[in-house]
């Protein structure tokens, strides 16, 4: 049993490496970037990769390497805010929906179903219209729109936990409902939340790219991969590399978080655990 557990899950490993890469880029960017990422230089516009500008420069003559590094921060910020909002609101609501008895639980799940019908990007666009387009509002909107997904998943997990004999045993041992929620339900649904978190991280990164494309995302000149991709569009035919770098960065991040989530899911899959 333990031998099979110790073998490293390949998608967890690959995901971990990719996510680690993004995190590393972001961390290093706080200390050092090859050039000032915002410095416009009309003398060095649209250069190809060379010794000084490793990945070349954009149409403002800014160093793409530096901007990609700082962009990693935006990407992580985006994910953390979106996932944070969703998990912080969704987890307790999900536990509540799973533990509430009678009509209250039913009402909560109906409300969740309804909320599912309001897609994330829609909410983000409307938020952008109300509060102004910024990364923060966009991601809070994406986070809010993801809450129902968490409620559903956590609720299902809670229902499963609540039907176990160990919860019955805890009740027989005299635990109050709050105690059961904190000591039994929360630790046991935490795995689900983490898995869902890494998946919605990936979704948030994609959503930010989509929003930047529509002009509701990160405001310039703050580098964001989605925005860089959008800016590269008009030069797609003349300077295709400009689209390749941010495109690849987005793919790596999304791929990383997806693989990481898949790996975690395999880890936490009770079917696999039981063997």
């Amino acid at each position: 049993m333990s031998a099979r557990h110790r073998s490293v899950n390949p998608s967890l490993l690959a995901g971990g490496v990719l996510v680690g890469l993004v995190v590393l880029l972001a961390l290093v960017s706080f200390l050092w970037t090859p050039h000032d990422p915002d410095r416009v230089d009309s003398a060095h516009r649209l250069l190809g990769p060379d010794g000084s500008f490793w990945l070349g420069t954009d149409k403002f003559g800014r160093d793409i390497t530096s901007r990609l590094m700082v962009g990693a921060r935006t990407t992580l910020f985006v994910g953390v805010v979106a996932v944070g909002v969703a998990a912080v609101l969704g987890t307790p609501l999900g536990i509540l929906a799973g533990m509430a008895r009678g009509w209250r639980g039913g009402l909560l799940s109906r409300a969740t179903d309804l909320a599912m019908a309001f897609p994330a990007l829609l909410l983000a666009i409307m938020f952008g219209a109300v509060f102004g387009a910024s990364t923060l509002t966009a991601m809070i909107a994406i986070g809010l729109a993801t809450v129902p997904a968490y409620v559903r998943i956590v609720r299902a997990g809670t229902l499963a936990v609540m039907s176990t004999e160990y919860v019955l045993a805890a009740r027989a041992a005299g635990r109050c409902r709050l105690g059961i929620a904190l000591r039994h339900v929360l630790p046991n649904v935490a795995g689900l939340v983490i898995v869902q978190g890494s998946v919605s991280f990936a979704i948030a990164v994609l959503a930010e790219a989509g929003l930047s494309f529509l002009g509701f995302g990160t405001a310039p000149p703050t580098p964001s991969w989605g925005r860089m991709l959008q800016e590269s569009q008009e030069l797609l035919f003349t300077h295709p590399l400009l689209a390749v770098w941010p495109g690849a960065a987005i793919m790596i991040a999304v791929l990383g978080f997806n693989l990481f989530g898949d790996g975690l899911r395999d880890r936490y899959d009770p079917r696999l655990e039981r063997r």
């Binding site: 915002d38 009309s42 403002f60 102004g132 387009a133 008009e234 003349t238």
Partner: protein
């Protein structure tokens, strides 16, 4: 687009033109927005007069006009045999009705252009007499804009969807969100257009428009919104790139009522700190003109003022220090339009060199920008292109969003309006110079009129000098 392939020039030709901004409605009497007159003026609606390609006022529905010595009475002689697209004849009654209607029924603030009119009376079927309260040069000019458009007395019931004008085209079909089809109509008084059917296609996305051009989806890009992509159209056997000037001054506006921007030295310092050539090169791929004041070269009072504040960061720092602001943080609140977003990033980077931190805040255009910057003047700096013809007059309005209150400018503008043609040119030049010296704003550059067209398309307007996109002279030649 595809419809033109293989067809010869003749009455059966069609043309697809790509535009960015789509009209929200077809009624410019109640709706603002440049896209409506762009599509309809001259093409569907005609005025008594219009601007030619050089910016001169020339006859249209009026064959000629006389101005009284006191320059308060205009007597127009109208053309014979002009009909509206619903078949009704156009008479002096209609002209008087149209002028009166601006004052009574229009809801946009442009209607103030007609305030100066005391009376408009039909003298005969083809003679119209307009009496002004005071002499005004800008009134006749305003008659070339949308407020001079002539409506049928019986055809104003459903302007939002069914425009009825005297122009060579009628709106055949309008598919919202996609396209508007203009077709040449029978019974037009003037020379019938060479192209029977013109489809105005609306693209939200410049790249999509470029792709449509490259795949034959359209024949003309009316304005290139991504000048960086022009090299895609360098094959002269397939594309014809037209580059002229427009009315669009891209202005880095200052809130003149807000300290420290009330201090002229600070404004001048900002102007010294900005390398406008670099802005033009990076933000708009070098296409456009450096101006230096609020006057495009097509206006009669144009002077090259672009060297008023040559790029000089040292001087900028020095002026800032003198003004007591060696470092400064300003809010640069811009609309989410391509040229503004691009220019702002360059400006921010350049200002950073002299110790000025510009915090960019991108506002959705039009709703939020109009509300916060334009209406409430809640900003320090902004960037927007002013596209109305002869919009230098707005500097005479102290409540305008740049909050520039200079009695001398106001006086000069008033004199220019009521004076003779020569006086007008003279005073206007002074206004432009005053504004430049005062660094009331920074004129980053003048947007070019950049078009890409199929080589067979002729007669496209090289310069944009009016509100209209004049399609009446366009023809298509195919081998």
């Amino acid at each position: 687009g595809s419809g033109t392939t293989g067809e010869t020039a003749g009455s059966d030709t069609s043309l697809d033109v790509g535009f960015i901004a789509e009209p929200a409605s077809l009624d410019f009497t109640r709706n603002d927005g440049a896209a409506i007159p762009q599509a309809l003026l001259v093409n569907v609606y005609e005025g008594l007069v219009k601007l030619d390609a050089e910016g001169r006022i020339v006859p249209l529905l009026a064959k000629s006009w006389q101005v009284s010595p006191d320059r308060r009475t205009y007597t127009f002689t109208l053309r014979d045999g002009v009909t509206f697209s619903d078949g009704k004849p156009f008479t002096a009654q209609d002209a008087a009705f149209s002028i009166d209607r601006v004052k009574t029924s229009w809801t946009t603030s442009l209607k103030t252009g007609m305030d100066v009119v005391a009376r408009a009376e039909p003298v005969s079927a083809t003679t119209l007499k307009v009496t002004l309260k005071r002499p005004s040069n800008s009134w006749l000019f305003a008659m070339t804009t949308r407020i001079g458009a002539m409506f049928s007395r019986t055809g104003v019931a459903d302007l939002a969807t069914k425009p009825i004008g005297t122009g060579p085209f009628v709106v055949e079909k309008w598919t919202r969100g996609d396209s508007m089809v203009l077709t040449a109509r029978d019974g037009y008084w003037g020379k019938a257009p060479a192209v029977q059917r013109i489809t105005l296609r609306y693209f939200k996305d410049p790249t999509a428009m470029n792709n449509a051009m490259r795949t034959g989806g359209i024949d003309v890009i009316s304005t290139v919104q991504a000048p960086e992509s022009l090299p895609e159209f360098s094959d002269t056997s397939k594309y014809h790139v037209i580059e002229g000037t427009s009315n669009g001054e891209v202005v880095l506006s200052y809130n003149n009522s807000k300290p420290p921007l009330t201090d002229r030295r600070v404004r001048q310092a900002l102007s010294y700190a900005i390398d406008r050539k670099a802005v033009l090169d990076t933000a708009w791929a070098g296409h456009g003109t450096l101006i230096g004041s609020m006057v495009p070269p097509t206006d009669p009072w144009y002077e090259d003022l672009s060297q008023t504040y040559p790029y000089d960061p040292a001087k900028a720092r020095q002026l800032l220090a003198q003004a007591g602001h060696p470092t400064l943080t300003l809010r640069l609140r811009i609309p989410n339009l391509p040229y503004a977003v691009a220019s702002a990033q360059v400006v921010k980077s350049q200002l950073a060199q002299v110790g000025v931190t510009a915090r960019i805040d991108v506002l959705e255009f039009p709703a939020r920008w109009l509300d916060e910057v334009y209406t409430k003047a809640d900003y320090d700096m902004s960037i927007i292109s002013h596209v109305e013809p002869r919009d230098i007059t707005s500097w005479g309005n102290p409540d305008y969003y740049w909050r520039y209150d200079n009695p001398r400018v106001q006086q000069l503008l008033a004199q220019a309006d009521s004076g003779t043609a020569q006086q007008q040119v003279d005073r206007m030049k002074q206004v432009a110079r005053t504004l430049a010296e005062d660094a009331a704003a920074d004129w980053l550059f003048l947007l070019p009129n950049l078009m890409v067209a199929d080589p067979g398309v002729r007669g496209l307007p090289t310069n944009v000098v009016s509100e209209a996109f004049d399609l009446t002279a366009v023809s298509v030649a195919r081998s």
